[in-house]
């Protein structure tokens, strides 16, 4: 197969394969998840899930130091977690090359924020590449690993959702096998004691200058001459929109965007009448270019929030001067947001917490969907692992006001990612808050990936499975209780008992994700219409299998229902029935 339609993620994986890449690690995170999943399909590459992005980057950096080309992938907020090794790796440099993928998410298709991670490259003083389509996503990995080795720098490959998840034509190449570089002890390079680090900083600054000179004439940056009245400087997916909005303009398309090739930018700008900077999110290019004294138009016209598209770019520069927004017109249609699946094991737990009118600090995963109607049982969601710290902090601040009314909720993968330290802190600092771990034995929301608690590696090899209960006890929690989240009354009783006790406890809701287990509890349930009093209680558990018939009575859709029994348990009149056999 010499060419195919590939997503940016598939293309990145393919590029890593062709470049002789040998080691990759990641933690799942939309829109980056498929990068490691695809890398895992190449037998020549060692690919593994890490419990979080910091570990993923440390292991990949170790592999690069050990002498093989390596890669770490993460979503934008994942780089926040990996920031510590990221910044210091800039000082250490590399042995074999390393490429770090930051998959940003303008418009927050599935993220808590739309931070612009280009600033990370600038702050850490590393080389950064921004591909504009899938072919470049592949090529930039190959070229980026060479760049990493040639300039002794980690390379940040920064993408956005429309690069990661859009598909375009990619031409394939052959894999080159690279000999492993020797590992040689190098105290002054690899041990960042102040005496060494001070000297490394000098090298970092020199490296930036060399990269800046290199950028003047390199395969990543190119000028496309057209009409000289307008010169557009752009990068990433924004290039595509700008190209369609201004088909006749001249373009400086940047692929190496840190450090910026200022000489090239100045040359280009001097040869056009007006310079437009077309970039999504922050004025990353604009601020640096304007600081050189070049007169530009950018965020005075282009929105700083949300993603761009051709229409927005066109409208931004239109003569009526109005600043375009990407507010979609309000539609009078019922929203169709994602919901918890029929039979989801989270439904029962949140129903119980709702019944008890608890203040719930939440976290990131499928269970975050419990925050929206009808369950609406989550007060906070900040970042990975924050639920535990938030609960503890709120408890300390409110003294007894929320005694017995506060619980922090976290998933199994999230707990292993960054919840353990929060739990240690809670016990160590004499908190009393209850924590509920939703253990569905998988990293679900991102598409069902294995993690250190599932007992399987990325490639489904059996391996050690972390015992969550033991971790809680080792942290000093004496009360660790398991519940079956499909049994509402029992779960309710456990919550009441634990909430009444003034010491920390962990309630583990233990049931595998229904999609993963491919399980059906029973044949679809049904409703006896005569008994149904239309009280609406069943609808409040938010199951997509529960509908209404023409008379407003509850009707269960047999295509969706898997017989989890939650709705039957909440139906007081007993109209919802389990089929006989």
């Amino acid at each position: 197969m010499s060419k195919a339609m590939l997503s940016g993620n598939e293309a990145i994986a393919r590029g890593f394969y062709e470049a002789g890449g040998t080691f990759a690690a990641a933690y799942p995170g939309t829109p980056s998840t498929e990068i490691l999943e695809n890398i895992g399909t190449y037998a020549e590459i060692k690919a593994q899930w890490a419990p979080n992005e910091k570990v993923a980057l440390e292991v990949s950096a170790g592999a690069a130091l050990g002498g093989v080309r390596s890669l770490a992938a993460m979503k934008h907020v994942g780089l926040n977690v990996a920031a510590d090794p990221f910044f210091s790796l800039s000082y250490q440099g590399v042995n074999a090359g390393i490429v770090i993928i930051s998959a940003d998410d303008p418009a927050m298709h599935s993220s808590q924020n739309e931070q612009d991670n280009r600033w990370f490259a600038k702050a850490a003083k590393v080389a950064m590449l921004e591909p504009s389509d899938s072919q470049e996503a592949k090529d930039f990995v190959v070229l980026g690993l060479k760049l990493s080795e040639e300039f002794d720098t980690p390379v940040l490959l920064r993408t956005t959702t429309r690069i990661n998840h859009s598909k375009s034509i990619v031409n394939f190449g052959e894999r080159v096998e690279i000999d492993r570089k020797k590992y040689v002890k190098n105290f002054s390079k690899n041990v960042l004691l102040p005496m060494n680090a001070r000297k490394k900083h000098v090298l970092v600054e020199e490296r930036l200058q060399k990269l800046m000179d290199y950028g003047y004439d390199c395969p990543f940056n190119r000028v496309e001459w057209g009409d000289r009245t307008i010169g557009i400087i752009t990068s990433g997916i924004s290039y595509q929109y700008a190209r369609e909005a201004f088909p006749n303009a001249s373009f400086l398309k940047l692929g190496l965007t840190n450090p910026l090739p200022f000489k090239l930018i100045e040359d280009f700008s001097s040869r056009v009448d007006r310079v437009f900077i077309i970039e999504e999110l922050d004025p990353f290019l604009e601020e640096q270019i304007a600081a050189k004294g070049i007169k530009v138009s950018g965020k005075d016209k282009i929105p700083i929030m949300g993603e761009l598209n051709t229409d927005i770019v066109t409208a931004s520069f239109s003569d009526n001067g109005s600043k375009a927004t990407n507010e979609m017109k309000k539609k009078p249609l019922p929203p169709r947001a994602p919901v918890l699946c029929p039979g989801c094991s989270h439904r029962g737990i949140f129903y119980v917490m709702k019944k008890l009118r608890l203040t719930v600090t939440g976290d990131i995963g499928c269970y975050t969907l419990a925050a929206i109607p009808p369950l609406e049982t989550m007060d906070t969601c900040l970042c990975m692992g924050a639920s535990i710290g938030y609960a503890h902090g709120i408890e300390k601040a409110t003294d007894d006001e929320l005694k017995g009314k506060l619980v922090g909720v976290i998933g199994d993968s999230t707990f292993l990612h960054s919840g353990i330290t929060g739990l240690i802190d809670l016990v160590y600092n004499q908190g009393k808050t209850k924590i509920c771990i939703l253990d569905n034995h998988i990293t679900a929301m991102t598409g069902h990936q294995e993690h250190p608690g599932t007992g399987l590696t990325l490639r489904r090899e059996p391996t050690n499975s972390v015992d969550l209960e033991e971790i809680c006890r080792a942290a000093g929690v004496k009360r660790v209780v398991r519940v079956d989240p499909y049994k509402i009354d029992e779960t309710l009783a456990v919550f009441k008992e634990e909430l009444a006790v003034e010491e920390p406890s962990v309630i583990i809701a233990d049931a595998p994700c229904i999609i993963r287990a491919r399980k059906r509890f029973s044949e679809p349930y049904y409703v006896d219409a005569e008994t149904c009093i239309k009280c609406g209680m069943c609808h409040r558990v938010g199951c997509p299998a529960i509908e209404k018939d023409e008379n407003g009575k509850t009707k269960i859709n047999p295509l969706f229902c898997i017989g989890c029994d939650i709705c039957r348990q909440v139906c007081k009149p007993g109209a919802i029935r389990k089929p006989e056999k």
Partner: protein
Amino acid sequence: MSNIDINAHNNVTSVLLCGVGGQGVLVASDILIDVAMNSGYDVKKSEVHGMAQRGGSVVSQVRFGDKIYSPLIGQGSADILLAFEKMETLRYLEYLKNDGIIIYNDQQITPLSVYFSDIEYPENILEQCKQKSQHVTSLDAIHVAENLGNPRVLNSIMLGALSNHLSFDKETWLDVVSRRVPKKTIDINRNAFSEGRKLSH
């Protein structure tokens, strides 16, 4: 039946596919882009993942022509709107160019939000579509799929209906369908595609 003039407006043809997570919208768009690529065009598509199990709204935007830059279809630019669920047709109607082609599967999947808000599931979908274009076809594709024995071949039926409005070879379509569906379902999907072609002609 109107055929798309590939030479119209800068040589780009845009097809927007939409529906509900789990209906096979993205698999259908993967087939479409392979057909376009194998027919010699430059192609791009964009989509947002993750709705398959969770019943969310799914949209995939496909553009093909001599040279494609943006993977996104601008408002009022889509030549064809192919909707797998009828309300979703309305959600993306503003992407359709005036008098563009609308093909929708006449199936209702009620979103949960209907039970918790005052917004009702729209009644007059066909009428609203006709305000935008005279080229509207409503298909009973889901029942055809059920009659063939598997509701999951809905997406092949929809592609069959779509194929009548694009100038790709039928054999190219069937070849890609065969390569993209699970081996055991190749025959039923090929049948479904042909049934779809008969439905909208």
